[in-house]
């Protein structure tokens, strides 16, 4: 070996140093508490800042190796190719196991540094334990990366060309889905660390909840976006006409989303009403464990085959051990501190925000548990009895959909009920309009011949929630208009800027209703046809006449293929063309289909090219997917609402109002 280090070896060295620094930070942080030496904590903090610098350098060397096609790095040789376009050389960094875990660790170092930077002064007593927790998670991941899943490992002899990135991943969608999803996964590590710190200190009041509200909202929003991007990618890349298949890999990301959503809502009860302490620490630990489980499920290969897992048990065993350790620590601390987790306040009314949020938590956790069992039970049965069992979309749809419909109603009710409670007479009066319109939607559905109870209820639920949310918004604006004596537009602006959290939340709910409408439309009213056509043949689907015009060859540097051209007409007028493709990637010997997609407000036309027969006939699948675009629009609304809510700093409401002001007004608090 030569004396000069290659860049990739430097990257590996950086990751190794980062691991050493994490161990150092844990030791310093714990010692700073035991020896009452705050100076040691500064060293621990700085170690975590250095950790960010080192891992940034490490990640940069790996991306560099992809960009210059350095095939002496095994990971690059396995996932890139000289013909690969530049964009995909960047995204290939997280295109497979090793690189995506490095991305995980880099995110964690980034969030750790950000959390220490932002909260250093506010939470001095919790800080040692926050640092120790985050550094321990980081050490766990770095040790795994260096020992069992090394993206910097070298390859000799150096191949002339790489084995190419998986063609399914050669798509702009991949540029966004995994990194955004991981933002969400890793984001939950910060609330987890704060909760662990307050459990260790025995200070399980509302402070940790207040501190991490925005972290939780950020992580949950990123997770929402990651899941939606994944759905969008599956929709236009995989070519089966849908966006969610209840595949175990998808379920793995849904579980932390469900638990994280429950957490985000339940935390408000602790912040505003000093209740649900144990419930919240339970939820934050569970959410974080589910993000680890998600990484484990997707990255250990256990889902592809239990046997593959058994043949190469190193990675899987490590991840299971890590998960078990985190679980023991998290749940163990909760049990240890159980007596401190009693609520301070009492529940005063059955029809209150508190009970609505409790119901929301319970329903979301029921879905989480169903998805958990449905995903893992077949694996367990296979390991124990050797019997193979499938739990797929029909099961999940049947079990999860009713709960989701209930949540849709709850989403309309929850934000409109005040804390502490309201009388049932007032409740009925407040929800007069939503109930009336939901009933009207039900009647309209029956009139149009829809008979499935769940379909009817889901439509009524969407109408109910939308009405309730909009009523709430307009009441607030009207109140502001009257009290301020200003015009509508100005009153709306004032409400938006003064109650950002509340309005952000309402906007997010509205976005979720739009997503639900998109799912109801596309899930329950899709029409599709598998057709065999010659040139010039026409077929009708959902009011569109689709005619096959021709099939041509395509020849690109890294793939070859065939492209069909369909013309689409509606009401006798030509509208547009659809051009689905079928591609062959020679390096991996893989065939993929490129969907042709035409999104419209009321639905998408979607064409997939199948095989061609020797006598010139083409098999194609054509879909009419109603309202799919609403899911993507709803996501944008969710993002806007979350962004609005994120701009409001959480104030320590109760603390300030209960105590008399210690100082005269105008004197800076020093």
């Amino acid at each position: 070996m030569s004396m000069t280090l290659t860049l990739a070896e430097l990257g590996q060295l950086a990751a190794g140093l980062a691991l050493v620094l994490c161990v150092f930070a844990i030791a310093r942080a714990v010692l700073s508490v035991r020896q009452c030496a705050p100076a040691r904590l500064v060293a621990a903090r700085n170690a975590m800042f250095a950790n960010l610098a080192l891992l940034s350098a490490g990640a940069a060397t790996l991306i560099h190796a992809f960009v210059i096609s350095d095939f002496s790095v095994a990971y690059v040789a396995q996932n890139s190719n000289l013909e690969l376009p530049l964009l995909y050389r960047f995204t290939a960094m997280w295109g497979a196991h090793e690189g995506s875990l490095l991305l995980w660790a880099w995110y964690l170092s980034l969030f750790t540094a950000a959390a220490l930077w932002l909260h250093w002064r506010e939470h001095p007593l919790s800080m040692p334990w926050i640092i120790a927790t985050l550094a321990a998670i980081q050490a766990g991941f770095l040790a795994f990366i260096l020992l069992l899943s090394n993206p910097f490992a070298s390859l000799t002899p150096v191949p002339a060309n790489g084995r190419d990135l998986n063609p399914l991943l050669q798509d702009p969608g991949l540029a966004f889905h995994p990194p955004v999803l991981y933002l969400g996964y890793v984001g939950f590590a910060v609330p987890f660390a704060f909760a662990i710190a307050s459990l260790i200190r025995g200070q399980v009041g509302h402070e940790w909840v207040t501190a991490v509200r925005r972290w939780t909202l950020f992580a949950r929003t990123a997770l929402t976006s990651g899941i939606i991007f994944g759905g969008y990618w599956a929709y236009y890349e995989l070519g089966w006409g849908g966006y969610w298949a209840w595949d175990p890999v998808e379920n793995a990301s849904l579980m932390p989303w469900l638990a994280g959503t429950a957490l985000l809502h339940s935390m408000m009860v602790q912040e505003k009403r000093r209740m649900f302490r144990s419930w919240n620490v339970f939820l934050v630990v569970t959410t974080f464990l589910l993000t680890l489980l998600g990484t484990f499920l997707v990255r250990s290969g256990v889902l592809t085959s239990v046997h593959a897992f058994a043949v190469d048990p190193g990675r899987g065993a490590y991840m299971l051990g890590f998960l078990a350790l985190a679980m023991t620590a998290g749940y163990g601390l909760i049990i240890w501190r159980a007596t401190m987790l009693e609520s301070e306040a009492r529940l005063e009314g059955a029809l209150s925000r508190e009970t609505a949020i409790l119901a929301n938590s319970v329903l979301l956790l029921v879905v989480t548990a169903v998805v958990f069992i449905g995903t893992l039970f077949p694996l367990a049965v296979e390991v124990v009895t050797g019997q193979k069992l499938s739990v797929g979309a029909p099961y999940f749809n049947k079990v999860v959909a009713p709960v989701m419909v209930a949540l849709l109603f709850l989403m309309g009710i929850g934000p409109s009920i005040p804390w502490r409670g309201m009388t049932s007479a007032r409740f009925l009066r407040h929800f007069r309009l939503p109930f009336a319109l939901a009933a009207a939607a039900l009647a309209a559905g029956l009139g149009l011949g829809i008979r499935a109870p769940l379909t009817l209820l889901s439509i009524a639920g969407a109408v109910f929630a939308a009405t309730a949310i909009l009523t709430d918004m307009s009441l607030a604006v009207a109140a502001r208009r009257r009290s301020g004596g200003v015009a509508w537009a100005r009153a709306a602006g004032m409400v938006l800027s003064r109650s950002r959290r509340r309005f952000g939340g309402l906007i997010v709910h509205l976005g979720m209703v739009l997503i639900a409408v998109g799912m109801i439309g596309s899930g329950l009213f899709q029409s599709q046809a598998t057709v065999e056509m010659r040139r010039g043949d026409s077929v009708e689907i959902a009011g569109h006449v689709i005619t096959l015009r021709g099939i041509a060859d395509i020849d690109m540097p890294n793939y070859q293929g065939r492209r069909a051209t369909f013309s689409v007409a509606g009401d006798g007028r030509p509208l547009f063309e659809l051009r689905p493709e079928k591609r062959f990637y020679p390096i991996r010997a893989m065939t993929t289909t490129e969907v042709a997609l035409r999104p419209q407000a009321w639905g998408d036309l979607y064409a997939v090219m199948g095989d061609e027969s020797a006598d010139g006939r083409l098999i194609a699948r054509l879909f009419w997917n109603p309202l799919v675009s609403w899911i993507w629009i709803g996501w944008a609304v969710v993002l806007a609402g979350a962004a609005l809510s994120l701009t409001e700093r959480t104030r320590m409401v109760g603390v300030c109002t209960r105590r008399p002001a210690p100082q005269a007004r105008g004197v800076p608090a020093q």
Partner: protein, 147 residues
């Protein structure tokens, strides 16, 4: 404001409208419904309708034949279950280990409702003196207080 309200309401009722666009051969709709419940035995978690594999195509053709012959969904499912085992059913059978899968959601809903009721019962009672602050009031209550 009312216009906005009316507009968005019309939009949320969109599935009603979307539903009217569907017009499909009922036999083919049944073939699809049955096919989405059958797993392609040679693929990775795909149903036989979405899979491009030869096996899935043949199975789909068998489903179509049996639908045309007038056999019931249950009969067709039983036919494939006898041939390929429980693995082929994407919705697991409610006998054998699959029963757990169906029992768990029921228990969860009962347990969840029980837990919620227990919590409500245990936490119920007059509250300590925690005055409602301005920030805790909903906009709807603000409207009442500041007419």
């Amino acid at each position: 404001m009312r216009l906005v309200l009316a507009f968005v309401l019309a939009l949320t009722a969109a599935p009603l409208w979307a539903g009217r666009l569907v017009g499909e051969d009922p036999a083919e709709a049944r073939v699809r419904a049955v096919a989405t419940g059958l797993r392609c035995p040679v693929c990775q978690s795909e149903n036989i309708l979405d899979s491009h594999s030869g096996t899935a195509r043949e199975m789909l053709e068998l489903v179509r034949e049996q639908v045309i012959e007038g056999r019931s969904d249950a009969q067709i499912m039983a036919f494939f279950r006898a041939r390929y085992g429980d693995y082929v059913l994407l919705s697991p059978p409610s006998t054998g280990p699959g029963a757990v899968i169906w029992l768990v959601p029921v228990l969860l809903v009962i347990g969840g409702a029980g837990l919620a009721l227990l919590l409500v019962y245990r936490l119920r009672g007059p509250g300590k003196d925690t005055p409602e602050t301005h920030a805790q009031l909903t906009e709807a209550r603000l409207e009442e207080l500041e007419p």
